[in-house]
Structures are given as structure tokens and as C-alpha cells.
Amino acid sequence: MPLNVVVCLKQIPNPDLQFQVAPGGQDIRRETLSYKTNGADEFALEEAVRIKEKHGGRVLALTVGPKRTEQMLREALAKGADEAVRVAFDEAASFDPGKIARILAAALRTVPHDLVFTGVQSDDMVSSATGGLVAGILGMAHASVVTKVQVADGGLEVSCELEGGLERSYAVRLPALLTIQFGTNQPRYAPLSAIMRAARQPIRELTPSDLGAASWNAFAGSYGFRIRGLTPPAAKGRAEMVAGRVADQAKRLALILRDRGFVRR
């Protein structure tokens, strides 16, 4: 059963970096950031491509973001997506997943979609909200933290990860939106020939008018949303830090282990 699979990708600042609050407290400083594809989204893309390889159909890579996100979409094309669409919403500090979800939902209405994948969370905002919101807005079936997807009998069978490693399985009707868990599969590397080909592939751009709106503001929810301020978090209990050369640190750690009785001799 060939399926139209749309995978929603997000480009995020590498979360391993250090971050500073920009003057005014409405965003982080972005001048020196490097961006990457959100970790869980890599697994969502791989799962989408595997479903296409097994059952036929097409994979469309979709993102909401500025021009720089084209790099991510080209990587997706090189890894097996058939086409790429960028919603040209360019608001760096967009902290309301509700607005992004409404934009994504509007974009999804313009393309065929039997199955929509997102990552389980974005590692920058850690909301785990966008996928579920989109499903709720579009009235689609929906499952979260998915680690297994099987296409069966005109629908799906999926396993969802719960706390403590428990797995809960559901039969899911199509169309459906699944948020894919980190580690679900082994994402592939793109062969050089595919990277070269992807560099020449067109990326379709969607503007507000393509989505039937006068401006992006039309996608703000029925509520008000305001950033009161960003701050570095107040350190809670801070560890007693042991400085010095490795040899000195080692002496100290050995002493702690002996003092506390973890080493007998």
C-alpha cells in the first residue's frame, strides 16, 4: 500500500553549545550559533524513507524556517526524501509551538499526506507539543514516542515508549501523525552522488498567501503570547567542584572513595 509520508524537520541550534541571553531578554544571542537537524527528526526521516522503500509511495520533507534550513532539506533529499517544501516563516525567536503547529497544519492541507512524522521533541525547545497539536488541529489519529511502525491492513500498528521502558502498542487508522523516538532506527548516510543530485533539486517555498493568509500573524492562536524574559537558570544545588591538574583531582577522588568506604584497601 503506497503511502504519502510527510516528515516535519526542524533545524535547531546545536544544544551542546553555550548560550547567552540577548540584550532585552527576548531571545538568545544568535550571531555565533551553528545549526543542525534536530536529533529525533533524523530518526523520523529514516523511518519515513524505510516505509517508502518497503511499501512504495513518496516522502516529502517539510520545514518551517528561514533560508538556512534549505541545507537541512537538501540533506533530507540526499537521504531519500522525494521532494522538499520550506514554509518561509522567518521569525528567529519563535517560542510558541502553537503558532508553528498552525502553520504546519495549513501547509499539510496543501499536500497529500497519509502519514505525518515528527521527532518526539526538539532538543532546543523540548516542548514535545508540535506533533500532537498538528494532529489535534487536523483531526488526525496520533501516537507519541513511537519506536516501531508497521503498515498493516490499511492502517498501522505502532509501539509507543512509556516511562521505565514499557511499550504500549496501538492499531492506528490513517491518516495519522506519529512522533518518532530518538534511537528508533539507524539513520543512513547519504551517498555522494545523492548529495550532488540533491544540491540541484528545487525546494518549494510557501508564503502566507500560499496558505491563504495575509501574513504569518494569521496563524497566532486565539490567545495572547508574550515572552516576559529569558534568563540563565538559577543554579540549584551546585556540586563542590574539584579543580586542579588531573593528578591532583585523581588523588582527591581516590580519597573520597576510601573515606566513604567504597574501596577497602
Partner: protein, 322 residues
């Protein structure tokens, strides 16, 4: 106008989610601002004993018993809650930020057009405005966000950030009927599987030496194992390592793995993401080794070493005369 705070009580196999007392505590704070009380909602089937134990927190429990709610589905829960929200017009709907909670909350908010804030470390009401405090970017940035609406706010609360509520008198169970249309629920529960029993049981270990991405290569696990052996411990790991199959899933410490409470926990090259910390923060003594001085693991650790574990551990083994 006084409005209630609604707490959705997550449960599985006859047990309430351990974070429910935290949600109730936060709901009491919010209720003081909204001028209403706390209502807890139990959706299930044949779950009367659970409803009674929820009532022990001194609140009214709205208990909807329906075979359709016997197993959790986002569609079934969202339908039931939409009905209860209409009936009770709460100011806030509080849900745990768990796998189930962040499945349900956005689905409910999207389908019923309600404002949403997820994974909050704190939440408050100020003149009807919801102030949601969230942590982002590996917990390196905190933000306060104001959401303004006449409609009920849907909020998921991160676990471990609120002191749990103590039981109180005056609770009661009210059975409620909710209209459900099963044909509109597009997912059907099939089964619940537990992880296979592991090679070792981390949960009972006295000493755990855990490795994270900072150990760089699978071969370096030998060093972690040697160190663990020397101090009478076993090896655990953060999620990235078990995802890479460097260690079996049973060795994973964290929200999606084991929750441990050893006498000693040595975290080597683990940054300390929330998902890991929630599984080990109650260890008696936490020693963290990480090259990044701003790594959040140093917030939960008792003793911290800014060092490369691959250099520090061999030096410690030498000190110990291994």
C-alpha cells in the same frame, strides 16, 4: 470569578502515576490564585479504588468510568476531557509531562482550540494571565512566557520540580458520565509490553558507574568497567549509549530506562539532560566527571570534576593501586 484547577490523574495497571502528588501541590498553588478549588479527574474503567486513593488528597475526584476509557487513547481522553472542561469551566488543566501527558495535552489543545504550555518547571496565574516558566537548550536557558486567554490553559508540568502534596481530609469521589463516540477514536489499544529482564539489575546496585557520550568510543567502556569493578560497582549508561547499542537497554538510567538510588553514582561524560537526571538524582552520593563546566550534571552532583573521564579514571585507578 472563581475557577477550578483540573488535574488529570494518569494511571497504569491499577496504580496512579508517581507524579500525581506533585501536580496536586501545584494545582493548590494555582487554585489560590484563581479563587477556586482543585478537582482531580480520573478517566478509566473499573478503577474505583484508584478514585478513592485520589480522594485521599482532600479534593473532589471526578471519576468517569467507561469501557472506552479502559486503556488510554489520546482520542478517548480528549473527548472525555472536552466534555468535563465544558461542564466545569476550569482555569487550568494540569497534566504530567510524561509520554502519555505530552501525547494528550497537545492533542487536547489542538482539537479543542485551547492555549498550551508544556514541560513547564513552574507555572503561575497573575490576573488571569498564565505565566509559564520553561527550561530550554539543555536547561541552559530559562524563560517566562505569558499566555492570555479566556479559555482554560492546558499545562504539562515537568516531574521533580514541585514538592509533592501531602494527603488531606475532605476528599470525595463524584461519578460523572461523559458522552463518548468510539467511532471517532482512531487508535485502538492492543497490548502493554515490559522490557525483558536484564543481565544485571541496576535498580538494586549499591554503586553505579555510568557512562555517557563523553567516553567517545565503545572501546573506552573497558575503562569504565575496570573502574566500576575496582569500587565494587556495575556499569550503567545514559540513553545515547544504549541507542548506539554499546550497552544493552537494561543498563540505561533515566526516564525511559531505570530509576536508580545507589549509595554512589559516578557519572562519566554525561551532560545531565533532564531525562537522565530524573533517573538518578536521588543517589546518596553523586560524583560527576565532565569536560564542560556548565554541564547540568554539576547541578545534581555533590562533587564535580571538570576533567576528561578517560584521563581521570586511569589516574584514580593508579592512586588506588589497582
Amino acid at each position: 470569578m472563581s475557577q477550578e484547577i483540573l488535574v488529570v490523574a494518569e494511571h497504569l495497571e491499577g496504580a496512579l502515576s508517581p507524579v500525581i502528588p506533585e501536580l496536586i501541590a501545584k494545582a493548590r498553588d494555582l487554585a489560590a490564585s484563581s479563587g477556586g478549588g482543585v478537582l482531580t479527574v480520573l478517566l478509566g474503567h473499573d478503577a474505583a479504588p484508584l478514585a478513592e486513593s485520589l480522594a485521599s488528597f482532600g479534593n473532589e475526584v471526578l471519576y468517569a468510568d467507561d469501557p472506552v476509557l479502559g486503556a488510554y487513547t489520546a482520542g478517548g481522553y480528549a473527548q472525555a476531557l472536552a466534555g468535563l472542561i465544558e461542564r466545569t469551566a476550569p482555569r487550568v488543566v494540569l497534566i504530567a509531562h510524561t509520554s502519555q501527558g505530552y501525547d494528550l495535552a497537545p492533542h487536547l489543545a489542538g482539537s479543542a482550540d485551547l492555549p498550551l504550555a508544556t514541560n513547564c518547571v513552574d507555572v503561575a496565574l497573575s490576573d488571569g494571565v498564565l505565566v509559564a516558566t520553561r527550561r530550554m537548550l539543555n536547561d541552559k536557558i530559562q524563560g517566562d512566557f505569558e499566555i492570555t486567554s479566556e479559555r482554560p490553559y492546558v499545562v504539562t508540568l515537568r516531574s521533580g520540580v514541585t514538592k509533592p502534596a501531602q494527603p488531606a481530609v475532605g476528599g470525595r469521589v463524584t461519578r460523572v458520565h461523559v458522552a463518548l463516540d468510539p467511532s471517532k477514536i482512531p487508535t485502538r489499544f492492543l497490548r502493554l509490553d515490559r522490557p525483558a529482564v536484564g543481565d544485571i539489575d541496576l535498580a538494586t546496585a549499591d554503586v553505579i558507574v555510568a557512562a555517557g557520550r563523553g567516553i567517545q568510543k565503545k572501546e573506552n567502556l573497558a575503562l569504565i568497567e575496570a573502574f566500576a569493578r575496582r569500587i565494587g560497582g556495575v556499569v550503567g549508561a545514559s540513553r545515547p549509549l544504549t541507542d548506539l547499542d554499546w550497552l544493552p537497554k537494561t543498563r540505561q538510567v533515566g526516564q525511559s530506562g531505570q530509576t536508580v538510588r545507589p549509595r554512589l553514582y559516578v557519572a562519566c561524560g554525561i551532560s545531565g539532560a533532564m531525562q537522565h537526571v530524573s533517573g538518578m538524582k536521588d543517589a546518596d552520593l553523586i560524583i560527576a566527571v565532565n569536560t564542560d563546566p556548565s554541564a547540568p550534571i554539576f547541578e545534581v552532583a555533590h562533587v564535580g570534576f571538570v576533567a576528561n573521564a578517560l584521563e581521570l579514571l586511569p589516574a584514580v585507578l593508579k592512586e588506588l593501586g589497582a
